[in-house]
């Protein structure tokens, strides 16, 4: 893992003191609320329905045990004993007091963490594949690249006041698990014909009210040119991105309005003119940073593991868990173990301080002290021996973290919705809970297989409903919550946005409608191997429409 040197450390410390000063100047009237707001946002602080929310960066989702314990301590001391893992690999506290925030930032700095640029109209926390350094389909670990971008973009003097927020994601694998094509900039580490490693650059993807898939502006960028090329893109955006309407201010709108070809031409022109001072930096820094991400010393071991196989036979719960929550590791005899932080009937992504400590202990004992936060709001122990899985499973059961549902239908992503968010038009967490209850039976989940449900509580799409196999968007119609269902979304390589199935339905009709959709799928699929998206592509939306209609009638009848 990357370790801060004296310079990184200094910037984070000074940033804490800077924010302390900013709060003081707000309180003594030197700064107006309008002036203060962007400053607090750039430190991850939102004013929510009930309290202040602090979004802590977990850069590229990698976390060590000491950091996790500190997050637990903060949850206990300043929040209500828990934190919320988000879809952008961050952790949020929902119940803070403004006066405590500088001290909390100080505690974070003690373990090399911060909330810098987790909000505001600047370059946000960079996200990456949560199986970085683990997955067999990887060309290169994306994290050194993500860390280089983190440093470059931190307090970049030119790009702190962009037209709108700016999100960058990096993947180094063949399968895109970082959803790079729905980011402002998506970076894929690729190999060219000569076998050199470089980057494919996508620009202008995003979800929200105008969902768009990113366009490729460069097929192959030599790696040392990365920072300068980003500089060119950001400069074109900073100068020409719309500032008259916040809903049209994202770079995706600029790319759309100019057209991908014209946008690319402007970037290339800017790039040609630019003083290329980032090349030397990228060369030296990538090598320096990459050392920190050297894989931990893992010895190859027997695979499959006899010990695990025997334990699976003896324990059906472990069998189910092992079937769904273990991901193959590059190194024989190891696995990346996915822990669902979505226990049935609880808000997705919420973890208590106690659970965080259990995770920290397990990581220390079994995973070289390392954890990952996924954009599925789960936690990964990335370097686990197969032999150790039974022991870990036992500890997870005690902590309530052994839900065997990774990537299954109850592994739902839901934004905070009406329960926490000031912008919400509908609830989303309770909807997720209702659906989880319908599919609570593990055998039924296993029968259905991989299927993603994603829920957002308003058009801003924090729950990524557009890229859910089944997407649910909560709106408000005539004072009532109304849910639109989309089918066919896919965040991966073949990024696809879901299409609406029909008119919106009431909250209490949603679980039944989802059940009917799933039943239709089970009926129509050509076998258990055929996943939902494949069936849908084959049969189209029509066979699923009655699901919605029937439920609508019942809802009308009961209204």
């Amino acid at each position: 893992m990357y370790r801060y040197d004296e310079f990184d450390e200094q910037i984070v410390r000074e940033r804490v003191e800077q924010f302390r000063g900013q709060v003081e100047r707000r309180l003594d009237g030197s700064l107006t609320e309008d002036e203060f707001k962007p400053l607090r946002l750039m430190n991850g602080l939102y004013l929510q329905l009930h309290a202040y929310m602090l979004r802590v960066a977990v850069p590229y989702g990698t976390l060590n045990s000491a950091q996790m314990r500190q997050l637990a301590l903060i949850a206990e001391r300043y929040d209500r004993g828990y934190g919320h893992f988000t879809t952008r690999q961050n952790l949020q506290y929902n119940w803070l007091k403004l006066v405590d925030v500088p001290d909390i930032l100080g505690l974070l700095a003690d373990v090399g963490m911060h909330a810098i640029q987790t909000s505001g109209n600047c370059i946000r926390n960079v996200t990456a594949d949560h199986f970085a350094g683990v997955a067999a389909d990887e060309i290169e670990d994306p994290r050194p690249t993500a860390e280089l971008i983190r440093q470059w973009s931190t307090l970049h003097p030119e790009f702190e006041y962009l037209p709108r927020k700016f999100k960058i994601a990096v993947t180094g694998a063949e399968e895109d698990r970082a959803a790079v094509s729905v980011h402002d900039i998506g970076i894929r580490i690729v190999r060219n014909e000569a076998g050199e490693v470089g980057y494919r650059i996508l620009v202008g993807g995003g979800l929200g009210r105008t969902p768009m898939v990113g366009k490729t502006v460069r097929d192959f960028l030599p790696r040392v040119e990365l920072l300068d090329y980003l500089q060119a893109i950001l400069r074109v955006y900073n100068r020409h991105g719309r500032r008259d309407n916040k809903y049209k201010a994202r770079i995706k709108i600029l790319v759309h309005e100019l057209g991908a070809a014209e946008f690319t031409a402007q970037v290339e022109e800017e790039y040609r003119q630019l003083e290329r001072d980032g090349i030397a930096v990228a060369e030296a820094e990538l090598a320096r940073i990459a050392q920190y991400f050297a894989p931990p010393p893992l010895d190859e071991r027997a695979e499959p593991s006899d010990l695990l196989a025997k334990a699976r036979e003896a324990d059906p719960a472990l069998e189910l868990f092992a079937r769904h929550n273990l991901v193959p590791h590059k190194v024989r005899g190891h696995t990346a173990l996915v822990l669902s932080v979505k226990p049935i009937g609880k808000p997705p992504g919420d973890a208590t301080a106690e659970q965080m400590r259990v995770l920290a202990d397990l990581a220390e004992q079994y995973s070289h002290g390392e954890m990952r936060i996924t954009h599925m709001q789960n936690v990964v122990l990335p370097h686990v021996r197969l032999d150790d899985v039974p022991a870990i499973h036992e500890r997870l059961l005690e902590a309530g973290l052994a839900e065997p549902n990774a990537a299954l239908i109850t592994d739902i992503i839901a934004c905070p919705g009406m329960d926490y968010c000031a912008l919400a038009t509908a609830r989303s967490i309770p909807i997720a809970e209702d659906i989880q209850r319908v599919f609570a039976d593990p055998a039924r989940q296993a029968e259905i297989g991989k299927l993603s449900i994603k829920i957002s509580g308003c058009i801003n799409a924090c729950g990524h409903h557009h890229v859910g196999n089944i997407g649910i968007l909560g709106l408000e119609r005539m004072g009532r919550e109304n849910y639109q269902i989309t089918l066919g979304g896919d965040p991966g390589n073949a990024t696809t946005l879901g299409e609406r199935l029909g008119p919106g339905i009431d909250a209490d009709a949603v679980p039944g409608a989802i059940e009917a959709i799933v039943d239709t799928y089970l009926e129509l699929r050509e076998g258990p191997e055929e996943q939902f998206l494949t069936t849908l592509a084959r049969v189209g939306h029509d066979p699923f429409k009655p699901a919605l209609e029937a439920k609508k009638e019942t809802a009308d009848a009961s209204a």
Binding site: D5, F7, D8, Q10, I11, E14, R15, E17, Q18, G21, Q22, R25, G29, S30, L31, T32, D34, E35, P38, L39, N121, Q151, W152, T154, L155, H156, P157, E158, F159, E160, Y161, L162, P163, R235, N238, R239, R243, Q273, L274, E275, A280, V281, A284, E285, R288
Partner: protein, 147 residues
């Protein structure tokens, strides 16, 4: 209106004219006369560097605190070789002062009202709270490679 640079309050008697008047103004100038232009912050830095090579000052109008175009415009002007003074005119706040200076802006002109709320010491302190960021000639990247 109060004019600040990295050292404190300052004065500058450069006469500001419209871009298309610059040449005429410069033709008739006496010894010691300085001329500059005022431009909006959506001006094209590239063209401006070409059109106003003789200007001693470029004053960029900033409509809103959060309007970051001024930073890119100043940085572009510097990269394209503009060596005169760059001034940002508008409601920048002390917390943006360091960014402004790093992007090549020399002076900031703010309103009396704002200066009353945010006196000089706040500007000078804010410019120094973060010792260094990553980019730039004295930035962390440069420091590391020098080490």
């Amino acid at each position: 209106m109060p004019l600040l640079d990295a050292k404190g309050l300052t004065t500058d008697t450069t006469e500001l004219v419209a871009l298309d008047e610059l040449e005429t103004a410069r033709d008739g100038r006496g010894p010691g006369d300085r001329f500059g232009v005022t431009v909006p912050c959506d001006a094209d830095g590239e063209e401006l560097a070409r059109q106003a090579p003789g200007a001693e000052l470029i004053a960029i109008e900033v409509p809103k605190t959060g309007d970051g175009r001024v930073f890119s415009l100043a940085a572009t002007l510097r990269e394209r070789g503009f060596g005169g003074t760059i001034r940002a005119v508008g409601p920048l706040i002390p917390d943006q002062f360091a960014f402004a200076l790093s992007c090549g802006i020399d002076q900031v002109e703010i309103s009396e009202e704002q200066f009353a709320r945010q006196p000089l010491d706040q500007w000078l302190a804010a410019a120094e709270t973060i010792t260094r960021t990553y980019v730039g000639p004295d930035g962390i990247f440069a420091r590391r490679s020098a080490a």
